[in-house]
Amino acid sequence: MGKQILTTCPYCGAGCQLYLNVNDGKIVSATPAAGRTNEETLCLKGRYGWDFLNDPQILTKRLTKPLIRKNGILEEVEWDEAISYTAGRLSEIKAKYGPDSIMGTGSARGPGNEANYVMQKFMRAAVGTNNVDHCARV
């Protein structure tokens, strides 16, 4: 059975509202919704820009498993290993050089506000630095 999910377009700052039309767990199309800024219009990115979720592998592929570089090569690992390795290396560097030797970024793209809030809280409260920024400048 098909369903319609109301969401905000992930391209540009216009904030257009659109429906993702989903059939059998796959997105089949996007249609404009009556958003405050877009009033039932969409540009070509809003209309056709969902296809990357199907991972057609034109340019590059979706990441589907944590990877750790071992002897120069990225190898698939389980989440437990990826998390403890990452936390361990960060803790080591923090102990050796201090919290200001670590830099983190937020993301101005897909993740959303909550993930950005958690990221800056992590950098400030867990790492102990204000070294957090994002690509607003580029």
């Binding site: 290396r89 960060l90 690509c135």
Partner: protein, 567 residues
């Protein structure tokens, strides 16, 4: 933006400065067309003949890198001809005398040799802007991506102060933000100097509030901006001040940042690089650990659009593969480092953020659900407070004295200008079908087919003739920092001597050429100006083969085994 997007179409005059809506934000550009249809006057300031310039009443086709001189000249005319809103200036502003003293020398005749815009046109534009009932300024990266950028933004705001174009609907100044959630990343405190809601990390009372809520002491030292990372890795001698670990989340600096050779060296020298993203990208080639996350469409949350509007994003499909949401991944690392985070969902995170952020406190999930979109500030949880369509109502500003502050600065030329060795200027721009570093749009079949590697360089027909190149020819472009191959696109829209490229291509990656010079206040790089040279390639067949081979090799590096584009 001080106003809302819908208000654009009801302004009586739109002053569009370094902003190409048709390519960057088609749905915002639609409002510009509507405003014109409703009778608004349109003034466009841009070195290129953009779509907005084509329908404009006046096009100030200035030379790139002369923004400050032109804005000062407009302020000069408004004052000299007695067109300022004296009552607004008196009641709601400060710093007018200092402003006047600086713009005094910027007569249109003084500005002309810098801007290449005729004094008559500058006067005509200044008069129209000052006299319209409501004038609205829209600006984009053509203002911000210069080493003199913050000065120019303040200069534009000063024009609005000078003419009383703040405090009511359909006026003000609007930076039309590029990325979908760049406003949101700023709102949430992903900035080195503030927590959520622009609360300063150096304000003791604010910091104590966050220390109490988060249960740990917090640093009162402003952090470093992203654009300082290369310096802090490559040039910093003091080990304690060096950056040793870099947690890159949903960004691709190895494609998007200026001077890519320097970025690659930086990423390779940092002891530990974490990348958290949805796609393999150029940054991933330098990462020590890669954490795969869910994408838009696979998770819930809130974005902030360019006019301060909070709007929901919703999960539509189940993610494939062994991936986690971004906030879960960060929480797990935090917990493993001894600072537990146990959020159950995005609403719980949002509620914590609201409880610490007075200007967003009223924007609850329930209210956003009910209204669809809430423009901050929204301070009260009751349904009475529906947010704030436009800022500075009644001429009240955020400065402690409640007044808007005038600002003028002397014009400074771009950091790297044309020379005999590098006789052309290059500016980075956008094109409509692709977004940012193109990992998303380049993986959408309908969009990927619009344009492909190695991208294009826009050049004037006169320059094409001089170099004896034609549309579609491959051409070598080089600067002091790097070189690349791209395709020639002759266009009447650009002036001779100036060239333009979009930044999403791998082979024609214009950030190989751009300079890392920064605005001293915003630390934004000067992506809109550097000096380059162009070289005709005689053996086109082998250049075509080079492009093809390079493309395949990069794709192989990214883990794509076969070309599946036709699928």
């Amino acid at each position: 933006m001080s106003m809302g997007v819908p208000e654009i179409e009801d302004a009586k005059l739109l002053f569009i400065f370094g902003y190409n809506g048709a390519d960057a934000h088609p749905i915002v550009a639609r409002r510009i067309v509507k405003a014109k249809q409703k009778g608004a006057k349109l003034i466009v300031t841009d070195p290129r003949i953009t779509e907005s310039a084509r329908i404009a009443d006046m096009h100030l086709q200035l030379k790139g890198g002369s923004n400050m001189a032109l804005i000062n000249a407009i302020g000069n005319v408004i004052i000299a001809e007695g067109l300022a809103d004296k009552k607004f200036v008196e009641d709601h502003t400060s710093g007018y005398e200092e402003y006047k003293a600086i713009v005094e020398k910027y007569t249109p005749e003084y500005a002309e040799p810098i801007c290449h815009v005729s004094p008559d046109l500058i006067r005509e534009a200044a008069r129209a802007y000052a006299k319209a009932e409501t004038s609205m300024i829209l600006y984009g990266m053509g203002v911000c991506q210069f080493a003199q950028a913050v000065d120019v933004v303040k200069g534009l705001a000063s024009l609005a102060l000078l003419t009383g174009n703040f405090g009511g609907p359909n006026m003000g100044i609007g930076p039309v933000r590029g990325q979908n959630n760049v406003q949101g990343a700023c709102d949430m405190g992903a900035l080195p100097n503030c927590y959520s809601g622009y609360q300063s990390v150096t304000d003791d009372a604010v910091r104590e509030k966050f220390e109490k809520a988060w249960g740990v002491p917090l640093s009162n030292k402003v952090g470093i901006p992203l654009t300082h990372v290369p310096h802090r890795v490559l040039e910093e001698k003091d080990e304690a001040k060096k950056i040793h670990a870099y947690y890159i989340f949903g960004e691709d600096p190895a494609q998007s940042d200026p001077d890519l050779a320097e970025i690659r060296e930086t990423l390779d020298k940092i002891d530990f690089v974490i990348m958290q993203d949805i796609f393999m990208n150029k940054t991933g080639l330098h990462a020590d650990v890669i954490l795969p996350s869910t994408s838009w469409g696979e998770h819930d949350g809130i974005y902030s659009c360019c006019d301060r509007g909070f709007q929901r994003i919703r999960k539509a499909i189940e993610p494939k593969g062994d991936v986690k949401t971004d906030w879960e991944i960060i929480s797990l690392i935090s917990t493993a480092m001894g600072y537990p985070m146990n959020y159950k969902n995005t609403q719980e995170i949002w509620d914590e953020m609201r409880s610490l952020t007075p200007s967003f406190y009223g924007a609850t999930y329930e209210k956003i659900e009910a209204l669809g979109s809430i423009q901050w500030p929204c301070r009260d949880e009751s349904m009475e407070d529906k947010g704030t369509p436009y800022l500075h109502k009644g001429g009240k500003f955020a400065h402690p004295d409640g007044r808007g502050k005038f600002f003028a600065s002397e014009w400074r030329p771009p950091c790297e200008v044309e020379s005999s060795e590098y006789p052309y200027s290059l500016s980075t721009v956008r094109e409509v079908g692709h977004y940012s570093v193109r990992t998303m749009t380049g993986n959408c079949r309908a969009l990927a087919n619009l344009e492909d590697e190695p991208g294009w360089i826009q050049m004037s027909p006169a320059d094409c003739e001089k170099l004896n190149v034609k549309e579609g020819d491959l051409i070598r472009v080089y600067s002091r920092r790097g070189s690349l191959i791209t395709r020639v696109m002759p266009t009447e829209r650009v002036k001779a001597g100036a060239t333009y490229m979009t930044y999403q291509w791998w082979i024609g990656a214009c950030n190989e050429l751009t300079t890392p010079y920064l605005d001293p206040i915003s630390n934004t790089p000067e992506s809109k100006y550097c000096a380059i040279n162009l070289e005709k390639i005689d053996d086109q067949a082998s250049a075509e083969q080079f492009v093809k081979d390079s493309y395949e090799s990069i794709r192989t590096n990214m883990g794509i085994d076969t070309a599946k584009k036709g699928v």
